[in-house]
Amino acid sequence: MIEFKNVTKIFNFKMPNETVALKDINFKIEDSEIVLLKGPSGSGKSTILSLIAALSKPTFGEVIVDNKRVSKLPDNFAALFRREHIGFIFQKFNLISDLSVYENVITPLVVSDLTKEEIDKKATKVMEKFNIIHKKDQKVKNLSGGEQQRCAIARALVNDPDIVLADEPTANLDEQLSLNFLKFVEEIKNEKKTLIISTHDPLFFENPIFSKVIEINKGRLI
């Protein structure tokens, strides 16, 4: 379960250029829920995702994930938490263009204690699932947009996370690729993972696949 308790995030706190990104946010997301986090650009969606992933800490309040106060985790434990529990799909995929698909996919596993064989097995499984195995040795920069998208999803899921966070995953995609992404959402749903998609893409609105919609504007829940 993910819980936000009176979370406020202020960038440059007590500085002249102070910016309130989130104001007194409270919500709960149960396990295996598929959640749509919607709101206009700059409303605080990405800040919510980064707080869940323990990439940043709130200014006030607490973020609790699976009964763990992630907002209180020391940095080294926050990194460990992300490695074990979080898969992240970024708006621009954030793939390493000079590495191959395989090398990109195994990135989250490189620092794990897994053997080379175990890493290989996990990567192969996820690349097969997202139909990118045939391109495993190709450099990412030579892939099409759809292939890059599949590679990014495979990378997010290779460590078998409980929670998948997708930040504007279709912002740079055409309509067909956006529809493809919805198919991946269904696959993730079937795996009983918690998925939070932050977007302002109307394609996702009113879609019955989402069990919960959290709407945010100017840092406040609507």
């Binding site: 706190f13 007590k14 907002s71 020391p74 940095d75 434990f77």
Partner: protein, 321 residues
């Protein structure tokens, strides 16, 4: 008159850098220990959590550098003996001012304190609940003062060394004929000193097998003193093959294959890890077996290395000194 060789300058510059950063660390440490409340989710607490990382990193690097710098300090003293009239080794330089002896003792004490802080920090970093943060920074506040005194004494010592003034050499300082507290130690019967040394090592071995933390630490503590005492009064004469030469510093010279560095490193590491279990047990209720093993290994290295000298001498000459 001040003596400013490149080595002394390097030490002094590092001292001032360490002092600057440790002052920052001290101020922030006070802020942390006085205002830390892990149950709170306020901006102050989140900011203290971030600061604790910064401060701990500063302290860690100061201490990690200070420990090997002790060897550089000894090396520098030894080197300075070439320019100070009368000094034959670091002993003459230590005794060239009234500060040298206290500085040396304080440096050894600080080595252990810095080491203990680093161990506590190591365990704190393994906990996700910041369990030892307050203790760690209280300990730093406590250590800061001997650390500061060490730097002051170091500056005073180098500032007051007069290269024009003749100093006593180690042969005079560590002579049984002289009437001083050191020379009275030289007069102790050898069987008593050597017996105490091996008995102490046997007790370390015994409590290693029994895994009794407190006694293991206690006898490592006494071993540090008894080892240095027996080194000065008995074993050193076999290293130098001279019955009248008792200097604990000449061992660091090239003539004796720098054996002193090995001996002191073995002794300090061995006794440090010997005491570490008892120290860390105050905070975590478990024994670190590897520290026991490290302690015994290094203490054994020390005992073997120092025992070789009288045995080899006896085999070669058929007599004891």
């Amino acid at each position: 008159m001040t003596i400013l060789t490149p080595d002394v300058l390097a030490i002094l510059i590092l001292d001032f850098i360490f002092l600057f950063f440790s002052f920052i660390a001290l101020i922030l440490s006070f802020r942390i220990v006085l205002r830390w409340d892990i149950t709170k989710s306020t901006p102050l607490q989140y900011s203290l959590e971030k600061e604790s990382y910064l401060v701990a990193t500063i302290i860690k690097y100061i201490f990690v550098l200070k420990i090997p710098l002790f060897l550089f300090f000894i090396f520098t003293l030894d080197k300075l003996s070439n320019v100070i009239p009368g000094a034959m080794c670091a002993a003459g330089v230590v005794n060239a001012t009234v500060y040298g002896f206290y500085l040396l003792i304080l440096k050894i004490i600080n080595l252990y304190l810095f080491g203990f802080w680093l161990l506590l920090h190591h365990f704190d970093m393994k906990r996700e609940d910041y369990a030892f943060v307050k203790i760690k920074f209280w300990l730093f506040i406590f250590i800061f003062f001997p650390f500061l005194i060490e730097i002051i004494l170091e500056v005073l010592m180098f500032y007051n060394i007069n290269p024009a003034k003749i100093v006593s050499c180690c042969g005079t300082l560590f002579s049984a004929a002289k009437s001083s507290s050191i020379s009275s130690l030289m007069k102790l019967p050898h069987f008593l000193v050597v017996g105490a040394f091996y008995a102490n090592f046997f007790l370390i071995l015994l409590f290693y097998l029994l895994k009794r933390d407190f006694f293991f630490a206690l006898f490592n503590f006494t071993f540090l003193f008894i080892s240095i005492l027996s080194l000065i009064s008995f074993f050193s004469t076999y290293v130098y093959e001279l019955p009248t030469h008792h200097c604990p510093f000449c061992l660091l010279q090239k003539d004796y294959y720098y054996v002193g560095y090995f001996l002191y490193i073995f002794l300090f590491i061995g006794t440090f890890f010997g005491m570490a279990n008892a120290f860390i047990k105050i905070f975590i209720k478990r024994r670190i077996s590897i520290w026991y093993n490290l302690s015994l290994i290094f203490n054994t290295f020390y005992v073997i290395l120092i025992t070789i000298y009288p045995i080899v001498y006896y085999i070669k000459n058929g007599v004891w000194l």
